[in-house]
Symmetry: C2
Subunit: 517 residues, 2 copies
């Protein structure tokens, strides 16, 4: 028996006149004993190859398996010493970007990774536009073809770069939001966006790659992460799985920030989730100079408390052309800690001095003057930008407070604070705490997860039992509908101050300004 749970080496007793069990039934019987199960299934395609394979390898073969709840599926049969690789593919099916990771199924090692812009962007940048397009004649088919074709192309390229072939891929895991997984399967998404917001399916489970049009091994199975509803998708379930919530004793939290902030609190016994608009400010999409991280973009900012000079870190160096989400949070924290803005987030002209400029009657702070920027114009942040950022950070904190309060704990009770996505990877928790966007927990509590959707999809490929684990996570989630009631508004109002009206919540108020390494 090989080490990996996805692969089993089976030695069959050879048939005789006295023991004339058929090839397939002989193999299934041996696997049932080996796996201690009563359900093993082989596809017709494998049945067609089996007689030759068994005789070629003298009845000693290696089986590639997939466990679909109580049923084991054989997805491949090779000779024991067959040198061909056995690979799995994890897919993060993002609305904007799709990322693939190829793994060696025998040991879980990453073989390669590749991403591509979601070709559905040609139809529309946001999922709402795509859903409306799906309702037009041929629209759903077109959206489905775009994503499947794009995926197949990238699978081919990725395989080539890893010196294997698509047919070496036996298992695929796909994590995406509810709408994206619907478009991926060719399912009608129209009811996702209409009250009462009903997906076509919560648990798509296991499908054949071939029926989805995915060009990998003919017998390969595709697992699609389940969703909890229209607004809490498989990408987040993958994140919870990746963070390991289902194994934690103490309550932890996971925050994923995109257009919405999606939040999960829980431990191995319970999970509660909610999603709410946190505003685009946190992703760098708000200010005039805001943009997603990339070369020439400011991602770290500090302010010298004495001179009030800006200290910038620019990705790949050179003159800056904009500022990304983490830079904006740094900026707000630095402005506040250097007292250039007050606890309401308003510019303090006496401190800002020459940095402040009136444009169209609105106060703007010049972060990079025109002669030092890549655009030839000033890079500025306006009072309106700051107000918007503060509303976003207040919404975020209020969501965090509301969800923890709903289960009778406080933010201080959280043992781990997982932060997903680009946001989690790049923000400086000290800056986020300084402005009161994230709670004042010990810094070591903050754990960036990176692409947790991809991470969860890849993690699934390291354990044949993943399906049961993920089903378990999904079924344990209680979705909390965020009611914007008086209590919520009171919390929101208190959180609209820097860091908060209740300063006792933020002893780190006296933290030194963030320093660029």
């Amino acid at each position: 028996m090989s080490k990996s749970p996805w692969i089993r080496t089976v030695r069959l007793t050879k048939p005789t006149l006295q023991d004339n069990t058929a090839d397939t039934d002989r193999l299934i019987s041996a696997l049932k004993t080996d796996l201690q199960t009563d359900a093993v299934h082989l596809d017709l395609n494998l049945l067609k190859e089996l007689p030759e394979i068994l005789r070629k390898y003298d009845y000693k073969v290696r089986c590639i398996l997939f466990k679909d709840r109580h049923r084991w599926l054989v997805t491949g049969i090779t000779g024991v010493d067959d040198p061909r690789p056995l690979a799995g593919l994890a897919v993060d099916l993002g609305t904007t970007k799709v990322v693939l990771r190829l793994l060696d199924l025998t040991n879980g090692r990453t073989l390669g990774e590749s991403g591509f812009d979601n070709p559905q962007l040609a139809v529309g940048p946001d999922i709402l536009i795509r859903i409306h397009f799906a309702e037009t004649s041929g629209g759903l088919k077109r959206l489905n073809e775009l994503i499947i074709t794009g995926l197949n192309q990238t699978v081919q390229d990725l395989c080539r770069s890893c010196r294997l072939e698509p047919r070496d891929i036996y298992t695929v895991t796909v994590a995406g939001n509810t709408a994206m997984t619907h478009l991926f399967m060719g399912l009608d998404p129209r009811w996702i966006i209409r009250e009462p917001y009903i997906p076509a399916v919560n648990k798509p489970g296991v499908l054949k790659a071939a029926e989805l049009g995915i060009q990998v091994n003919a017998a390969a199975r595709v697992f699609i992460f389940p969703n909890v509803g229209s607004y809490f998708g498989g990408d987040l379930i993958a994140g919870i799985f990746f963070a390991g919530f289902h194994k934690l004793s103490d309550p932890a939290i996971l925050v994923d920030v995109g257009t919405n902030a999606e939040v999960v609190v829980g431990n191995k016994n319970w999970l509660i989730a909610c999603a709410g608009a946190a505003g685009p400010a946190l992703e760098g999409g708000m200010t005039k100079m805001g943009m997603v991280a990339g070369p020439g973009v400011v991602d770290r900012i500090a302010i010298n408390p004495d001179t009030h000079e800006f200290d910038l870190h620019i990705i790949d160096g050179g003159p800056p052309k904009g500022i990304c989400g983490s830079g904006i949070i740094d900026l707000a924290a630095a402005l506040f800690l250097s007292e250039m803005i007050d606890i309401r987030g308003k510019f303090v002209p006496a401190v800002c001095g020459k940095h402040l400029k009136q444009i169209d009657g609105l106060a703007h702070l010049v972060v990079v003057p025109a002669d030092k920027s890549a655009t030839g114009s000033d890079l500025t942040i306006s009072q309106a930008d700051l107000d918007s950022l503060i509303r976003s950070k207040a919404a975020m904190y209020t969501i965090l407070e509301t969800i923890t309060t709903s289960v009778g704990i406080t933010l201080k009770d959280l043992s781990s604070f997982f932060v997903g996505g680009t946001f989690g990877s790049f923000i400086d928790p000290r800056a986020a705490i300084a402005i009161g966007m994230l709670p004042d927990l010990p810094l070591e509590s903050y754990k960036p997860l990176g692409n947790s959707s991809l991470g969860g999809a890849a993690l699934a490929l390291t354990s044949v039992d993943f399906l049961t684990e993920i089903d378990g996570i999904r079924d344990r989630i209680t979705y909390l509908e965020l009611n914007v009631n008086q209590e919520f508004m009171n919390r929101f109002s208190a959180a609209k101050f820097l860091p908060h009206t209740d300063a006792s919540l933020f002893p780190l108020r006296f933290l030194l300004p963030p320093i660029i390494k």
Copy 2:
């Protein structure tokens, strides 16, 4: 809930903001409760249609189901009052002829029946030639296409004549011998005919119609009857199922005579089977005048004991052109009872008188003189023909004796004697008993089954639990290898007399000659 076990009517609670379970999961959950199961599966194709169907029929739908061991599969979803028929298709996959029966799944009633010559006859009449052809390049594919194309054509014609469409067929059951089912599935049959005679599969189980190329409903499932080995196929398992062995308290026997005689003895607790060459004599394939039943063929013969005149029954009347299996057995019995042949089966010239003729030094008995035959020649039976018939009948009786002896019972202990196939439908048991081919049991023990393969396939369509029943039958069968040892030869020698050396086994020796009605 509708009456039929294949169909369930389900009323779902409608989704609300508080109960936002997805369409698929909502339906599956209701079916799980209704069916008291934990495994219900829907194909991707149905997932695609489900949101529209549920809303169109206001969450009250009729599900067409298939039970694959522990898993329930949904193969169709319609409105409760949808007038489209729900049909099942039973297929007897014969080497020579394929017969289809269409049933109404809601009540098990036969809608229509149709047969066609197996198009693989173009490759070769017998299965051995076809298996060798399958080993040539493209041969297997060609044989598979021939049978699938032929089946699809006849399904279409049969549906048209029953005023329904192939897409109304949700379940298909297929019974055939081991080689035919392999060719039907496109499986390599070469090891079936080579020692130690190993099929590719014993229990093909349930496949999707689409993956077999069968053009019925896209979600339809196909059940292929299991085999016990290369020489005991699904057609016989279907026969056992049809005869109801698995419900009998007393031991019964089933005999199916083709090129081989296939025999099963058993009851609800045990089943023992064997197959042996019984000779083509019994199917009308031996004598020069032998032929399969059809217009102008003699199927019944009596001899006036006083005048020794022949009394013939000709199918559809007119001058006879040949004689079929049942006619030959009648003839042998009549010759023996009128003492025109002795207990060794040799002509008694003194009694045969003018009927006897020497041709090429061999005694021939003229059954129909040239001037009364359709061929313009005498229809005769030679001494060699008779010797051959007697060897066949002796082989048959010896097999019956051997199999019953092997389980410690005698032929007299059999409560029912099922006779399958054309042979069973047309022979007169009195004639077969008179020559000692079949044992001397009360006539009411003999039960012709007709096309028991088709009968079993059709019976399966009347109960959603058939798969477990058939699996159970198949697993209970012990296959008895017929060893042609001294004991067998002793029995065979004794059975080579008319009716047998031990006359006490055949009190019906004194039966009146068969009389034509």
